[in-house]
Symmetry: D2
Subunit: 355 residues, 4 copies
């Protein structure tokens, strides 16, 4: 198993703890001949980084987040050899976390890591921190670039729900980090107010991220146990804080009839609707892939609650400091990265076998 | 990838088409010394089989479904060698399906299999048929038996929603196949009426299945890419017709605040609530595992619709014959099987490394 | 791990014990569109089977060895879905083996299976019997057919040494089963005499099998841990009784100088020699692949020796009955099969990534 | 496949080119609670490093070879999370290699990398350089430490043959780097003379390394495709320059009779001999594991020969500079590392399933 790898022939393997020396990853199975630079990676990493909008719901860790490419790229081009990447942790403040050394933060992995391994790097959640996802974004950028160049695939995620606020996608162009990746600019102010109010109360809120893949080739997916929806679901479910994955109509299918849900076909191989989210029988249809990912509200909040320490004694905890009010926002590029990694892996497998 | 395997060191690999000679599987990595008989497997397979309640929403394929164990069990006990299993297809009626030879049934895998492979066994969906899941149930029975004996783990699934009908679980004992695995017997009549009405109209309905795992040891799960929720999600998403996976509070977390969602802890390592569904940071907490699986309404319905044939020409299709009105019912033992397989795989990995 | 699978995206998984109901395998990841029949498989299986030459060194188990294809082939053509195959064990005589129920045969896996699993199917070696390799040959036949059609690859193995007798390959055509796969017909009589003499004494002899692959495309192999020589070596080392694997010049390189061993190149991308066995840096050069596989003498011999029983008590054992005097002979098609499986797997991976 | 990983649940993944920024690896699946320091790793890395004996056959690259541990170790103890390691390449002299930019060095991977990937980092062999094995040694040190502490396993390799010189092992203690890992100190002078003579001539010589594993538990190995000998063979065959792998009696079995080769057993579960090299049926017997690894003579020699450039034109090449006269010497700790990695992986799998 070795939990720290994802993908079969295009595979990401990661290491690193939130407040250790660095985060890092190896991207193996990369096709040769892709033009890649550290600048390319920075674009997506910057989308993951909190910045100006720190007041309204994004963690304030102000690290440069400059990924260094160590290998696998020669004279600007991938060589087919593994790409080692490296991201220094400049903003190490282990003291901030010493107070939680022996306390299990509710809703966090502190308790389960301790139970599983018997030892635990308690600094900022150690390995369980969402800082880990920076490397996923770096690897995903390379996958995105490959898919775009090779197949014209475009991947775009956005914030589709926060609490009871549900912005709808109109134009892809409107989605930007400074608007919380909200696809409807008219609802940004509403979101800002919600985040401000939560910040004052010391609370957080759940959210949903929707990701679309366009220009997807048909035929990707390996039934019966590596259906493309299953591998996408698997990848997304690994993102910190995710509690639900929906494909196409998602949980709404429970209340639908067969006559409403099936997508009729007409000549020129066109589907009249896309209830399926672009996947039938675990294989892409060629329509847009549509996936919804539900994030729980962050458990790192100021409002105090009861918990226990390593001796099993009860205590009260209140988590102050730089924490996300709505983790779905920063997760937008992470969701895109996971979709890109899975699609690339499946494309290479499919092309090898079914050419 | 080789799509037809699931699990890393406890692994199920399957083969077979719906109307071929037989279905079969190999279960590899089985611990030695488990008492297993073909009778044991029959219990779960019978739960998956439609029978008396054929009028109200269950497919009527009346096969004996008697799995034959070919290897890996000697003198009634597993030897640690791979268990080969075999299930004959007695009820082969390929003629029934000849009419669909060149037509793509909307909502089915016909179109995508053709696009992926260029050839297709059109008889009853071939490899994409849900008959495949019979072998998953057989393999899952062995996993369940091992988990029960070794750890006291009990796994139970039930029908938690059909359309707008949402029965709640009261007592585990009440759940039985003849009540559609509905956990509230007072709602069975309501379900029957719904199914009868749909049958008359030639339509189908979506559903949700909830599965619980009890007496789960803490510490199972391999972050950061084989979190137990990710591997469970992956397994479930491979079941035919699944469109959403939820862990614990699931999609409800989107509307929740951090102060509502986190599970506080008190002395004796107890959690006051179980919003997390028994998983934190991708590792089991020791609480009940709670997973919800949403099934789309079957696309095999009598109400006609438009589709295309292999030449891209439009045609009208109406699927008559023996088909599920609500596929979630027969999926109940399948959902249990997938949870059992993943838990066994993770338990063996965890025990090897962290003893 | 789940030890019973080999190959990454073209994968064989097997089950079955020597004297159980049947042997079987699943071949997953097969490219669609290959014409395959049970007749095709029979050719190689017959080459593995002992027959007329029973007097001179080949086991006499006279089973029909007719593999049944259960799935994955539709109207004579592979569908891309897993191929389930099945080989009945007609010649079950468990009584023959009851005498060894509690005795560990020296040189066999009896002791180690008992130590590993705690239980053991003692009938004819159970899972550790070389009968298992029948399914490898069946799977290999499909791989061979694919390689031949897709790339023109031809694979041929022969008996290159028995004791101190070392026949040299002259013409591929001369190699046939009735000559013990000896490549030099002038040495067949010498072999016959050796086998007769050993049979009288109740002893056995070691042997070496050499396999050649022709028309191999350059570029196959995945450094640094799935070099093609490493994956070939792995596959071969799994064959029953193998104690050494050599690539190209093999162990002779120990006594060679660099100036003798390197293969010089001249224009038209030609190599002047093939000391490397067609592999440099773990990747095929396009020259012939040359692999030598050393088989130990069978431990199933009449000459008695000391061993222990399950209580650790000493006893004497003499193994009579149908046993190979020289296991390398029947291993010839097995060695070919393993090379074909590994080459197919690597070709599909390479084509997917480096097209 | 993703060629750059080895091991199933204890897995090493590497990256880096000989003259790039750094080499690195991720060691995943490490049991928690092992005391590890960078000092520990240095011991084995120093054994791999050439030093005083530069005149007599060891490459002279004088890098510090100080591996930095980036993650997975907290307060001196492994946490069960992946260990990221990093080794800077201080001695980068890409200019030395520019002359070979477009020339394929015979016996090297230049030609095959170019054919496979279409692009190539030509500096010092890039990814195909034996410098890569430094990270294998680092990972192997952790495996060794774990095996020693957990099971008392001791692993020791030595130079067992160079050309026609075949020193025999007498005492483990005598084996040291300054004696070329030659197990018989009386033969060291002979080796020195051979190396000096070859250096003058600008030639190199082949060699054999033998590795022993002591205090091995019985029961390790996963038939039928992950036999311990197959996985060991696979690991060793990946080491640069390896052309043959032998287990126990190795190629000698070809000339042996069954009555000579089988290891008789006597009471107390003792074997009278160890022809098998500690493995029967692919599973450890509990005896010493014995593996022989044959290395070809280095192809980097001064004696000129013919080759071609990237245009297919003929040219003459002579490789001067710092190169190994006998690559088996520095390979000694690499061979030990690979055995340690495979044994650890198999031990964790076996313990998980068969406890």
């Amino acid at each position: 198993m070795t939990g720290n790898s994802i993908g079969k022939i295009f595979r990401v393997t990661t290491f690193g703890e939130s407040h250790g020396i660095a985060m890092g990853c190896i991207l193996d199975g990369v096709p040769p001949g892709i033009q890649i630079s550290e600048e390319d990676l920075r674009i997506d990493l910057d989308r993951r980084k909190p910045e100006i909008i720190s007041e309204e719901g994004i963690s304030q860790r102000s690290e440069p987040d400059e990924v260094k490419i160590i290998s696998g790229v020669f004279e600007g081009v991938t060589t087919g050899n593994p790409i080692g990447m490296f991201l220094k942790n400049y903003d190490q403040k282990p003291k901030d976390y010493k107070s939680f050394k022996n306390i299990f933060r509710p809703g966090h992995a502190d308790y389960t890591y301790q139970k599983k391994y018997g030892v635990r790097d308690y600094r900022g959640g150690g390995r369980s921190s969402a800082r880990e996802t920076a490397m996923w974004v770096a690897a995903g950028s390379i996958a995105k670039k490959y898919l775009k160049k090779e197949l014209g695939v475009v991947i775009q995620a956005y914030l589709s729900q926060v609490g009871k606020i549900s912005p709808k996608l109109k134009e892809w162009g409107e989605i930007s980090k400074k608007n919380f990746f909200c696809p409807d600019s008219s609802m940004v102010l509403k979101l800002k107010k919600l985040f401000s109010s939560l910040k004052k109360k010391g609370d957080s809120i759940g959210s949903k991220v929707t990701v679309l893949g366009r220009n997807i080739p048909s035929g990707l997916g390996e039934p019966v146990f590596h259906k493309i929806n299953a591998d996408i679901g698997h990848a997304m479910m690994n993102i910190n804080g995710v509690k639900a994955i929906e494909i196409g109509d998602g949980v709404k299918v429970v209340e639908m009839k067969g006559s409403q849900n099936r997508d009729e076909m007409v000549k020129n191989h066109l589907f009249l609707t896309n209830h399926s989210g672009g996947i039938l029988g675990g294989i892409t249809t060629g329509q847009d892939i549509v996936v919804h990912v539900s994030f729980k509200p962050s458990s790192s909040i100021k409002i105090p609650c009861t918990t226990i320490n390593h001796l099993g004694e009860e205590t009260t905890i209140s988590v102050s400091g730089r924490h996300d009010i709505c983790i779905g926002i920063r997760a937008v590029p992470v969701v895109e990265a996971m979709l890109a990694i899975i699609l690339t892996d499946h494309f290479l497998i499919h092309r090898g076998r079914c050419t």
